[in-house]
């Protein structure tokens, strides 16, 4: 069972300064699956991705990638592991001084000795997969948000990674781009035989494409299951989140002093 998991997270705690961000997280990401990590903004989802990628070190516990604890890897081992990972950042993080073509070719030029003619063919192949072969000579500043996200996706799969991580891939996209990106995530995962982790708070779009969902709140996993199991939950925070209800276990108002006290009404009545 264990060997079927590409990523295993055990008793993971992460503290930023003195503020606990993640507490006692346990997760398994099986090979070949698309797994979503959902939760409100600020619940520690992106921090979790950075811990898997080795950009942060856990305060306690461990993240294992292909059976190896990420935080115990030295710099060479970490870079070797990252060559087998791809990450799509929230706003693409394209290199703004390079064309679309050069962005996608970046890893190939850095990590391989492939001739330019072969790199050209591979780049066009990756861009064809995301439907942007015709945009290869554009600069990032002339791309729309959805196009930039797709170019970043082509760049992330440049070296056919075994693990793809998506940080809020649906944020700020129109409905057509949402569907395009969602389909690409699923199809590329299946075509490349990869494993994908999608960090998102877009419930409806991600429910269509993922195999398993972890729900996080306050730095903890509070629910998990297949999309159907999650939909079937009829109470609590997950229900509120999935159905987009304004009030519920997660209150609309940020905690603070009473409204009357802030307006000094009590003092006026006294």
């Amino acid at each position: 069972m264990t060997s079927e998991n590409l990523v295993e997270i055990r008793d993971l705690n992460f503290t930023y300064d003195v503020r606990p961000v993640l507490q006692g997280i346990n997760m398994d990401i099986p090979r070949g699956k698309v797994v979503a990590i959902m939760g409100l903004s600020g619940c520690g989802k992106t921090t979790l991705l950075r811990l898997i990628g080795g950009q942060l070190k856990p305060s306690q516990g461990a993240v294992k990638f292909a059976g190896q604890p990420v935080h115990e890897m030295d710099a060479d081992q970490l870079y070797a592991a990252r060559r087998r990972m791809g990450m799509l950042f929230q706003f693409g993080a394209l290199f703004t001084d390079m064309s679309v073509f050069d962005n996608v070719a970046f890893q190939m030029r850095e990590h391989t000795d492939l001739p330019e003619t072969l790199i050209r063919d591979l780049v066009l192949l990756k861009l064809e997969a995301v439907g942007l072969r015709g945009a290869h000579d554009l600069m990032p500043n002339s791309l729309s948000g959805g196009m930039a996200r797709r170019v970043a996706l082509a760049r992330a799969i440049a070296l056919d990674p075994m693990l793809m991580m998506y940080d809020e891939p649906f944020a700020g996209l129109d409905t057509i781009s949402l569907g395009v990106i969602g389909n690409l995530i699923r199809h590329l995962n299946d075509a490349l035989g990869a494993t994908s982790i999608v960090v998102t708070h877009d419930v409806q779009e991600s429910m269509k494409i993922v195999d398993y969902i972890y729900f996080m709140s306050g730095g903890q996993v509070i629910a998990q299951g297949s999309p159907d199991e999650i939909r079937a939950l009829d109470s609590g925070f997950v229900h509120q989140f999935v159905h987009g209800e304004i009030d519920g276990p997660m209150p609309f108002h940020y905690p603070g002093a009473s409204y009357a006290a802030d307006l000094a009404l009590e003092a006026a009545h006294a």
Binding site: G53, Q55, Y79, A80, R82, R83, M85, G86, M87, F89, Q90, F91, A93, L94, F95, T96, F106, Q107, E110, H111
Partner: protein, 264 residues
């Protein structure tokens, strides 16, 4: 009252600890840049690109400033020297002022304002838009790939810019002194030639500009890399680059001058 005093002590302590921590981080950063400099020479086209951005694109401001500084030196120098009947020494005055001091110092100050601030803003924005994180996740070391080529691009550009500043400045002095005012051309050049020593004046000026290049570029890169990833953070980092590197240039100039010309 006591609470306010304790708050002040705590604030001071916090600032001192932060300053020491930041200085330590800056030293480690500088060491990492030196250790990861191999790529800047193995793939020299990366460094050439940065020489273009830091050096070639700074040429206009350097050349125009050098010309005007030289012309002002010519005017002021003539006014002073003629009182003592020594206007023939104008070439010496212009050349020594530029080669020893004004060339390296003013070129470094202009370099800090033009190229240093651009480097800080670029690295800071790369950080804010997660380009640096993306590079790390692609198993590419941003210190080696982004920072080191910019460092060597700046270090190589700086002495060349200072040399051009001095050369154009001397020409400016010639224009005002010889062409406009009428100082004897033969005396202007011959006195300059006999008074300017290659090792003592020119080489020391080159050494100064190399040191300034290291200081300005390292400060610019560190400020960009350490900038908080927000618009305000990048803006403050850019300002700090110009202020810190300008002060560093002036302080280093005093120290270097004391060692080079006074033998302290």
């Amino acid at each position: 009252m006591l609470e306010r005093a304790l708050g002040a002590v705590r604030g001071t302590g916090h600032r001192v600890v932060n300053g020491v921590w930041r200085f330590g981080f800056a030293c480690r950063f500088f060491l990492a840049v030196l250790l990861h400099s191999g790529i800047s020479f193995r793939r020299f086209h990366l460094t050439i690109k940065e020489i273009y951005f830091s050096g070639v694109l700074s040429l206009i401001i350097i050349l125009v400033s050098g010309l005007f500084v030289g012309m002002v030196l010519g005017l002021q120098g003539y006014e002073t020297l003629q009182k003592y009947g020594s206007e023939s020494a104008l070439g010496t005055l212009v050349a020594l002022s530029l080669v020893r001091e004004l060339g390296p110092v003013l070129a470094a100050l202009l370099f800090a304002s033009r190229a240093g601030s651009a480097i800080t803003a670029e690295i800071g924005l790369m950080k804010a838009t997660e380009q640096i994180s993306a590079m790390e996740m692609m198993a590419v070391d941003p210190i080696a790939r982004v920072v080191a080529p910019r460092f060597w691009g700046g270090v190589i550009s700086m002495p060349l810019l200072a040399a051009m500043f001095s050369a154009v400045g001397v020409f400016g002095g010639y224009l005002v002194g010889v062409v406009m005012i009428g100082v004897d051309e033969g005396q202007f050049w011959s006195q300059m030639q006999s008074a300017v020593d290659f090792r003592l004046d020119i080489m020391n000026g080159v050494i100064k500009s190399c040191v300034f290049g290291v200081a300005v570029t390292a400060i610019a890169l560190f400020e960009g890399y350490d900038a908080p990833p927000t618009a305000e953070g990048v803006s403050h980092a850019t300002t700090r680059t110009v202020v810190t590197s300008s002060l560093a240039v002036l302080a280093l100039d005093f120290l270097l001058t004391a060692f080079m010309f006074r033998g302290i």
